[in-house]
């Protein structure tokens, strides 16, 4: 049985048809490509935000401020308690004397401070959360020392990186919603285009039905149409995303450079591109199936 020959022949015929009506095909590719580019771009953005938050040393933590004149032993005891906590990576203690020395060194008020009878600054410590630990873990660590002796205040820091992480969650959800909406859009665009292709080949379909073609055989050329439109759309989406990356490369490099980081785009790799083409092809085939099912079932031969 020449099943493969038949598929190859139909694929070649479809390519010829698509090439013959290149203007229309290009418009379909552009529409499908735009529909795919936005959610794919958001996926890339989300991947990069996730990469950024995991790679940067900007993890959240907590700061403990002690009462003025608190015993150093009390400060160290709180520090040890936090270091023993399973979600705390490290604890940095700043004694009252060190705080005063730092202040003198950086404030330019060294002479004035010399006149004071006693050190007005409290001791403090900063605990940094382990990678992978969550905000509730940080809350739990804070709660374990908030009532300790000599503790005056406790500040749980939600770093800007945590906010970036939250933003990436928003981008993620937005990507899913837009992905669904634009996916439906891509299916409808393909379905409409395939429907037009079906209408232009009704004579052939009538003859095919007359000579005993099954529904599957009659659908086959149009599924190839859908796949071609979808793959083409995926390719256009990849080109649009590349273009956007080129356009934002310089300003983004400047922004990241100000945080001491090089520009490295995560996710825009061969796997992403193949995935984009496959999703495009799949959506195209779904659109073609819808159009063929709707039209061919009502086909009158004579």
């Amino acid at each position: 049985m020449s099943w493969w020959q038949d598929h190859l022949r139909i694929a070649a015929e479809t390519m010829r048809f698509v090439s013959a009506s290149l203007g229309t095909s290009f418009l379909v590719w552009l529409l499908v490509g735009i529909a795919l580019a936005l959610p794919s771009g958001l996926l890339l953005l989300q991947l990069n935000l996730a990469e950024m938050t995991s790679a940067w040393d900007g993890r959240p933590g907590l700061s403990v401020y002690f009462e003025v004149g608190a015993e150093e032993s009390s400060v160290r005891a709180v520090g040890q308690q936090l270091e023993a906590h399973p979600h705390i990576e490290r604890v940095e203690i700043t004694t009252a004397a060190e705080a005063l020395a730092n202040f003198q060194a950086h404030s330019g008020l060294a002479d004035a401070l010399e006149l004071l009878d006693e050190n007005p600054l409290p001791a403090s410590l900063r605990a940094v959360l382990k990678a992978g630990a969550s905000m509730p873990d940080l809350d739990a660590a804070g709660a374990s020392v908030v009532d300790a002796e000599a503790v005056a205040d406790l500040v749980i820091e939600k770093t800007w990186m945590q906010r970036v992480l939250d933003a990436s969650q928003v981008v993620n959800r937005l990507g899913i919603i837009l992905g669904l909406l634009f996916g439906v859009g891509a299916v409808l665009v393909t379905a409409t285009s395939v429907r037009l292709a079906i209408e232009s080949r009704l004579d052939e379909l009538r003859v095919l039905k007359l000579v005993g073609a099954t529904a599957g055989q009659m659908r086959r050329p149009f599924l190839y149409f859908g796949a071609f439109y979808g793959f083409g759309g995926g390719l256009v989406a990849a080109m649009l995303i590349s273009l956007c990356l080129v356009l934002i490369e310089n300003p983004l490099a400047n922004l990241l450079g100000s945080y001491g980081r090089d520009l490295e785009t995560a996710g825009f790799d061969p796997i992403f591109l193949v995935g984009l083409l496959c999703v495009g092809g799949l959506l195209g085939v779904i659109g073609a199936l819808l159009a063929a099912k709707q039209r061919l079932v009502r086909l009158e031969v004579l």
């Binding site: 020449s2 009538r206 003859v207 095919l208 007359l210 000579v211 005993g212 529904a215 004579l302």
Partner: protein, 224 residues
């Protein structure tokens, strides 16, 4: 038992018009029969129902003992592969050459390209059009186009060949030639059923004639 049997077949359209009324007829395997009657007598409906291109309102149509009116879509497609069809409007595909037009049923059957080539050339040779296999249908005369239609109908070597007004657009001499082609296919065992209003032509062929009028068989049916 006939190869083709109509049992009390009635076809009523949504408008209420009855194209066929309680038709009972049978056609033996290897027979050649002409269906005749005025325009609107029910000849085309008869053939359409036999091809299951329309549904019967009442009755049964048996082909080789199988009630084809009850076939599901896929089996119906396979059934049609065994029935060659020729129409007045030959339904050739304008953008495909003669070879590809004739090859269509074989490709639908999933035949290998080498065998497709052999069979198509044999069929075209039979209708005298082998030298024109690479031409588009528009470059052929009406008679030649009809012969391409016949080649396409017989290329699968069907058991049954149906023709609906196959000579409607042809002059008397070409019409005679086309009918002779049908006779040749009948002589190798194909059951041939031809609908034509050209009484003189079909009487000259000397084959049984079934006459329809207002959806009923009014003369000539002898059960093939």
């Amino acid at each position: 038992m006939g190869q083709i049997e109509f049992h009390g077949v009635t076809k009523r359209f949504d408008s209420g018009f009855e194209a066929l009324k309680d038709i009972t007829a049978e056609f033996a395997e290897g027979s050649m029969t002409f269906l005749t009657g005025h325009s609107g007598a029910g000849k085309s409906t008869f053939l359409k129902l036999l091809l299951c291109l329309d549904r019967v309102t009442r009755g049964q149509i048996l082909v080789n003992g199988i009630n084809v009116t009850q076939l599901k879509a896929k089996r119906l497609a396979y059934y049609r592969r065994n029935v060659g069809t020729v129409f007045q409007d030959h339904h050739l595909l304008a953008h495909r050459n003669i070879f590809d037009n004739v090859a269509l049923p074989l490709r639908v059957n999933g035949m290998r390209e080498r065998e497709v080539g052999r069979r198509v050339r044999a069929a075209l040779s039979r209708v005298g059009l082998l030298p024109k296999e690479r031409l588009l249908p528009q470059f052929l005369s009406t008679g030649e186009q009809q012969r391409v239609g016949i080649a396409r109908a017989v290329v699968t070597r069907p058991k049954i060949l149906l023709a609906d007004e196959p000579t409607g657009n042809l002059d008397p001499e070409l019409s005679k030639n086309i009918m002779e082609l049908f006779r040749q296919f009948n002589e190798v065992g194909t059951t041939v059923l031809v609908a034509s209003h050209d009484r003189a032509l079909i009487e000259s062929m000397g084959a049984p004639i079934v006459e329809l009028a207002q959806g009923r068989i009014v003369a000539g049916h002898r059960g093939g």
